[in-house]
């Protein structure tokens, strides 16, 4: 029984990573590549770690480590994807010609990198407060 669970988890995880690898080659533009890769890799890595945890049921330390790795993977992968996508948009990475809509166009202030929500025009945003050196400013 436990072997079947391990086998199923391993297979699905490996397939997810394979799909991510094919997606990097096949997708037509940068954002789609990023979009395909990050999730499938998180899912695949998580499932492989989970099957490792099931393989050593007597070792609590192994399970704890596997769960901790999955937790931090889920916590950090979206942040990395967000930062990469944001900087790609700043330098003007081209989008696929099939792209239907771009709500983000013209919303960034090129100088200060502030992002408008569309309710106020871009150049009417209040100037960003200069962070003072040497003080911990918790309020945002």
């Amino acid at each position: 029984m436990i072997n079947i669970i391990i086998g199923v988890l391993c297979t699905i995880g490996a397939l997810a990573i394979l799909v991510a690898a094919i997606g990097i080659l096949r997708m037509p533009d940068f954002y789609l590549r990023l979009s395909v890769t990050v999730k499938a890799a998180t899912l695949g890595g998580g499932l492989l770690l989970l099957s490792a945890a099931f393989y050593f049921p007597e070792e609590v330390s192994v399970t704890t480590k596997a769960l901790a790795i999955i937790f931090f993977l889920i916590l950090t992968a979206p942040v990395a994807a967000h930062l990469i996508a944001r900087s790609a948009y700043f330098i003007g990475t081209a989008q696929w010609e099939g792209t239907a809509d771009d709500d983000l166009a013209g919303m960034y202030d090129k100088e200060t990198h502030q992002l408008s929500s569309g309710n106020t025009p871009v150049n009417a945003l209040p100037p960003k407060a200069e962070p003072e050196l040497g003080t911990d400013d918790e309020t945002v």
Partner: protein, 158 residues
Amino acid sequence: MVKQFLMNLLLAFTWVALTGVLYYSNFLFGFAIGFFLLWLMNRNERDQRYFNRVPKIIGFVLYFLYEMVKANIQVAYDVITPKFFMKPGIVKYPMEAESDFEINMLSTMIALTPGTLVIDVSEDRKVLYIHAMYMKSKEQFIEQIKERVERRLLEIIR
């Protein structure tokens, strides 16, 4: 609420120590027993938030895993087959989440659903810009995320 959660943890550890079997399955079993006992003891109390929230969190995690696998299959199908069915675009998503923690959780959840990618949060923290792979219509996409992710998430956090 925090008090009840800590009490529940203590009961679970007591169960583990009494049975002497340090497995995760045993710990979870102890946690379930502790939860049941606490629920029994607190039935007449006014503050029932903890007991409503734990089943909701479990339900949300299961639902989210199901959605994630379903969407992964859709993306995988599009990657493997030669024709592209997708219709990508960047959508402006007006969110209801307000505090830092809520926005953080919401964008993590959206980013982990395959086919969507959070690009940025606007300066006044009212709008998320999401890159979507499958966008039949903008309103439908926004409605979908509001119904499936945001409402359930805020129900748990708030």
